[in-house]
C-alpha cells in the first residue's frame, strides 16, 4: 500500500478533490450515455414505424384517387394519383434500401415489394381506363382493391407486431431507466456521504495536530520548556511541528544564556560590593581618625610651639613629652593611604607609649626586643597598623589591672617574613573575642568599631587593622591573636618581598 503519511495536505486535497470530481464526472457520463442509448432505442423504434405509417396513410388516399379517376376521369385526381405514386414509391424504395434481415425487418421489405407490385397494377388500371379498355380496368381495379386491402392489413399486422415488440423493449428500456435512476441516486448519496465524511476527516486531520500544538505552545508560554513534541511525519503540519520544536529549543538556549549572564553579573556585582566595602572601611578609618583630630594641624602647631617654649624654659621633660605628642599627631596627619617602613611604625608606637608612661606613670612598662636583622625594620607596611594594637593592649589589657603591666614589642624575621609581636600581660582576651576578631570581616565589625570606647583611642579598631592587612596582602594568616598564661599576643606576619603597594592603592581608588 502507498504511504500517505508523508504526503502534503495540498497534494492530498488535490488528489481527493480530483478523484471525487472524476467519480462524479464518470457517473454523469454514465447517465448521459444511458440516456443517449434510451433516446436512440426509442428513436429507432419510432423511425421504423414512422416510414411505414407514412406509406400506410398514402395507400388509403391513392386508392381513393384511383377510384375517383376511374369513375370521373378527372385530370386532377390523375395528377394527384401520380404524385401519391411517386411519394409511395420513394417510401417503398427507402424501405427496401434500409431492409434488415430479421423476422420483423423482412416484413417491411415484403410490404414495400407488395406496394410496388400494387402500384404497377394500379398504373395498369389507369392505363386501361385511358385506353378505354373497360374490361381491363375493371379487372385491374378489382385487383388493386384486393391488394390494397391486403397490403393495408399486412402493414397493420407489422405495426401491431411492432407495437408488441415495442412494448417488450419498452419494458427493457424502462427497467434500464429504473436501474440508471437507482444507480444515480445511490451514487449521489454515496458521493455526498463520502465527500462530507472526507471533509470531516480532513478538518480533523488539520485541526487535531494544531490543537495539540497550541497546547504545547501554552505549556511553553508558562515556562515549561521540557515539552516533548511528538513529531508528525511530513506534510505542512510536520513542517509546523519541526519549526515549533526548533523554536522551543532556541528559546531554551537563549534563556540559559541569559541566566548565565545574570549569574556572571551577580558575581561581578558582589565583587564590586566587596571593593566598595573595602573603600568604606578605609574611609571609615580615615573619618574616625579625622574626627579624633579636630583641626590636627592647629593642635600639632600648638603642641610644637609648646615644645619650643618648654625647651627655651629649660624644662626638658615637658619638651620631650610635647615632641612625642607632636610626632604622633604628625604621623597621624599623613593619612592612611600611604606606606611606610616598619621602623617608622615602631617609632610611632614608642612615642605613643612614652605619652602613656608620662600620663600613667609606673603602671605602664614598655619593652622593645628587636632582632639583629636591621633590614627587617626597613620593609614597607601600611601605615597605622601597630599603634592601634598597642593602644588596644593598654585600654583592654593593662588599664583594667590595678598594678599595671608591661607592653612588649618584639620583631623577629626569617627569609620570607618579618614577625612583629605586640604583647601585654593585662587582663587577657577571651577565645570568643579572638574568634570574633579573626573571623571574616563584615558589617558586624564596622558596628563594633563604631561602638567602641572613644576616650583613650586614636579611633582605629583592631578589626580595621586586621581587615586592611588582609586586603593588602591578600592572605588571611597575616594577623594572629593568642592569649596564653596571661600573655596576650598580637602577631603580624609580614611578607618581606611584597611590592603590591601601588596596585593596592589604585584598586582602592577605582
Amino acid at each position: 500500500m502507498l504511504n500517505f503519511g508523508g504526503v502534503k495536505f495540498r497534494t492530498k486535497l488535490l488528489v481527493f478533490v480530483q478523484l471525487s470530481i472524476l467519480v462524479v464526472l464518470l457517473a454523469s457520463v454514465y447517465v448521459y450515455f444511458s440516456l443517449q442509448i434510451l433516446i436512440r432505442d426509442t428513436t429507432v423504434m419510432y423511425e421504423k414505424t414512422m416510414e411505414l405509417t407514412a406509406v400506410y396513410r398514402k395507400m388509403d388516399s391513392i386508392q381513393q384517387e384511383i377510384q375517383f379517376y376511374l369513375s370521373t376521369n378527372s385530370s386532377d385526381s390523375l395528377i394527384s394519383f401520380y404524385d401519391y405514386m411517386n411519394e409511395i414509391k420513394a417510401g417503398a424504395d427507402k424501405l427496401i434500401k434500409n431492409v434488415s434481415y430479421t423476422p420483423e425487418g423482412i416484413k417491411s421489405k415484403n410490404a414495400a415489394n407488395m406496394i410496388i407490385n400494387y402500384l404497377e397494377h394500379a398504373e395498369q388500371a389507369i392505363m386501361a381506363k385511358r385506353g378505354r379498355d373497360i374490361d381491363g380496368y375493371t379487372a385491374y381495379y378489382a385487383l388493386t382493391v384486393k391488394e390494397n386491402n391486403d397490403i393495408m392489413r399486412y402493414i397493420e399486422e407489422i405495426m401491431s407486431g411492432e407495437l408488441i415488440s415495442t412494448s417488450n423493449s419498452y419494458a427493457a428500456i424502462s427497467k434500464r431507466i429504473q436501474f440508471a435512476t437507482t444507480f444515480n441516486n445511490i451514487l449521489i448519496i454515496g458521493v455526498i456521504i463520502f465527500v462530507s465524511s472526507m471533509i470531516f476527516s480532513f478538518s480533523f486531520q488539520i485541526t487535531k495536530p494544531i490543537t495539540k500544538l497550541a497546547a504545547y505552545a501554552k505549556r511553553v508560554s508558562v515556562g515549561d520548556f521540557d515539552v516533548e513534541v511528538q513529531s508528525v511525519t511530513g506534510g505542512e503540519i510536520g513542517v509546523l511541528y519541526n519549526a515549533f520544536n526548533s523554536m522551543v529549543v532556541s528559546i531554551k538556549k537563549f534563556i540559559n544564556e541569559i541566566q548565565e549572564k545574570a549569574r556572571l553579573e551577580a558575581s561581578l556585582n558582589e565583587q564590586r560590593l566587596n571593593n566598595l566595602k573595602m573603600k568604606n572601611e578605609l574611609r571609615e578609618a580615615e573619618l574616625l581618625a579625622l574626627q579624633s583630630q579636630i583641626n590636627p594641624h592647629f593642635i600639632f602647631n600648638t603642641i610644637n610651639i609648646g615644645a619650643k617654649i618648654a625647651m627655651l624654659e629649660g624644662d626638658k621633660r615637658t619638651c620631650t613629652y610635647l615632641e612625642n605628642a607632636a610626632d604622633i599627631f604628625r604621623y597621624n596627619l599623613r593619612g592612611l593611604d600611604s606606606y611606610v617602613p616598619l621602623k617608622e611604625e615602631i617609632d610611632n608606637v614608642r612615642s605613643y607609649i612614652y605619652l602613656l608612661q608620662i600620663r600613667f606613670g609606673e603602671s605602664v612598662n614598655f619593652k622593645a626586643d628587636f632582632c639583629e636583622d636591621t633590614k627587617a625594620l626597613g620593609i614597607i607596611v601600611p601605615r597605622m597598623i601597630l599603634q592601634p594594637i598597642a593602644e588596644n593592649a593598654y585600654i583592654h589589657g593593662i588599664s583594667e589591672v590595678e598594678d599595671g603591666g608591661t607592653i612588649t614589642l618584639k620583631v623577629r624575621s626569617n627569609e620570607d617574613f618579618v614577625y612583629v609581636y605586640v604583647m601585654d600581660n593585662g587582663i587577657g582576651i577571651t577565645q570568643e573575642k579572638i574568634n570574633e576578631l579573626l573571623g571574616d570581616m563584615g558589617d558586624d565589625d564596622l558596628q563594633m568599631v563604631l561602638a567602641s570606647k572613644r576616650g583613650h583611642t586614636t579611633g582605629i579598631g583592631v578589626s580595621n587593622v586586621i581587615n586592611r592587612l588582609r586586603l593588602y596582602y591578600n592572605r588571611n594568616d597575616t594577623v594572629d591573636i593568642k592569649c596564653e598564661k596571661g600573655l596576650t599576643q598580637v602577631i603580624f606576619k609580614l611578607p618581606r618581598n611584597f611590592e603590591k603597594g601601588a596596585n593596592y592603592v589604585s584598586s582602592i581608588n577605582s
Binding site: L2, F4, S20, A27, Y30, V44, S100, P103, N110, F194
Partner: protein, 331 residues
C-alpha cells in the same frame, strides 16, 4: 486515509467497468440494426402457429439450413391448415417478390392452382410433408405416407397381439378425391396387418380439423361399434382428444390407441399407457431439407421429386429417448 483512497479508486474502477459495459451494449445495439450481410435468397415458408412440436422442430431445421445456405428464411404462420388462409399467404408472398415459397398442400385442386400462380410469378415453389397429392413439376419433402401407414399397422399389431377391430380416423382432405389421400396411407396399413388374419379395419372416419368434433366422433365410434378395440389416428392434434374420450368413457385398456405426431400430451398419454404408441415425422429434417432443396434448385442442382425423411415409431419403450431428441432438436 489509504482506505479512503482505496474506496475512491474502487468506485472509479467500478464506474469505468460500467461505462465499458454500457459502450459494449451501445455498439452491440448498433450491430443489431445493421444487416449481417445480404442473404442470397429470400424464401417464405407457410407454417402453422400452434403447440405441435412438429412446427417448432420444422422451423429450427429450416433456420439452420438457411444459415448454412446463406438464405433468409421467413415463416408465415397461418392459424390452421386451411385453403383460404394458405392461398392468401401465398398471394402475399408472390406480391412480396420473394425468391422461393414452400407450403404444405391442403388439397389437390386449389393447391395446384395456387402453385401455378406461384410459377407464373417466376417464383420457385416446393411442398413439404405431402406425398398424398401429386402436383406436377413441384418437388416435395417429407415422410412417406405408405411408410406411415405401414408403421401404424405394425404398431397396431404389436399393441393388440394380432387381433383387433380397428377404426381409422383420417382428416378431411377438403377435396373430392380423398381416395388418393387415403389410399396410400391405408395401403400401408393394410399391408402391415395383412399378416394378421384376425385384424380387421371396421371403418374409416373422416374428421374436419377445424370443427373440433373429435370428441363427438370418438364417442360415436365407441358407441356405434362396441366391438372396436383399436383406434388409429392420423393427425397429431386429434390424438390427445381421442385419448381423453377413451379415458372419460372408462375404456382405457379395452380400446387401444395408435396416435400420430409428438404432441407433449400424446407423449404423456403414452407414458400413462392410454396411448399405445405414436408415429412421428422427423420434422427437423423436413424443415432442414425443404430449404436445402429450394436452395439447390437455385444453385442449379437437379433434385428428386420426392425427398423422404425418417419416421419415428414411439412407444413407452423408447419414449424418453424421443423426448430427449425432440427436446434437443427444439433448441
Amino acid at each position: 486515509m489509504k482506505y479512503t483512497y482505496s474506496a475512491l479508486l474502487l468506485a472509479l474502477v467500478l464506474l469505468i467497468a460500467m461505462l465499458v459495459n454500457l459502450f459494449a451494449s451501445f455498439y452491440n445495439g448498433d450491430d443489431k440494426l445493421t444487416p449481417q450481410g445480404e442473404p442470397r435468397y429470400h424464401f417464405i415458408l407457410i407454417t402453422q402457429d400452434n403447440n405441435d412440436p412438429f412446427w417448432t422442430m420444422y422451423k429450427n431445421g429450416a433456420t439452420k439450413a438457411g444459415e448454412t445456405k446463406n438464405v433468409f428464411v421467413e415463416f408465415v404462420d397461418i392459424k390452421y391448415k386451411d385453403a383460404a388462409l394458405t392461398i392468401n399467404a401465398v398471394e402475399m408472398a408472390i406480391l412480396s417478390n420473394v425468391d422461393g415459397i414452400a407450403l404444405q398442400p391442403f388439397d389437390v385442386k386449389e393447391s395446384t392452382e395456387i402453385l401455378q400462380k406461384v410459377r407464373d410469378a417466376n417464383i420457385t415453389a416446393i411442398t413439404f410433408e405431402n406425398d398424398v397429392f401429386y402436383i406436377p413439376e413441384i418437388s416435395t419433402v417429407g415422410s412417406n405416407s405408405y411408410e406411415v401407414g405401414f408403421a401404424s399397422g405394425e404398431m397396431a399389431a404389436a399393441a393388440s397381439g394380432g387381433k383387433a377391430d380397428i377404426a381409422v380416423l383420417v382428416n378431411d382432405p377438403g377435396a373430392k378425391d380423398s381416395k388418393q389421400y387415403n389410399s396410400i396411407k391405408y395401403q400401408g396399413l393394410l399391408e402391415a396387418i395383412s399378416k394378421y388374419p384376425e385384424m380387421t379395419v371396421s371403418q374409416i372416419y373422416t374428421l374436419d380439423t377445424r370443427m373440433f368434433e373429435v370428441d363427438k366422433l370418438t364417442n360415436t365410434i365407441l358407441n356405434e361399434n362396441p366391438d372396436i378395440d383399436l383406434i388409429i389416428c392420423s393427425d397429431s392434434e386429434n390424438t390427445p382428444g381421442v385419448a381423453q374420450v377413451v379415458i372419460d368413457s372408462g375404456k382405457v385398456g379395452n380400446v387401444k390407441i395408435i396416435g400420430y405426431g409428438a404432441m407433449p400430451q400424446t407423449m404423456n398419454y403414452i407414458k400413462d399407457g392410454v396411448v399405445y404408441g405414436t408415429i412421428a415425422a422427423d420434422s427437423y429434417s423436413i424443415g432442414y431439407n425443404t430449404v436445402i432443396q429450394l436452395a439447390d434448385i437455385f444453385d442449379g442442382k437437379q433434385i428428386s421429386e420426392f425427398y423422404n425423411t425418417d419416421i419415428y415409431a414411439i412407444t413407452s419403450r423408447n419414449l424418453e429417448e424421443y423426448r430427449e431428441i425432440f427436446k434437443t432438436e427444439e433448441k
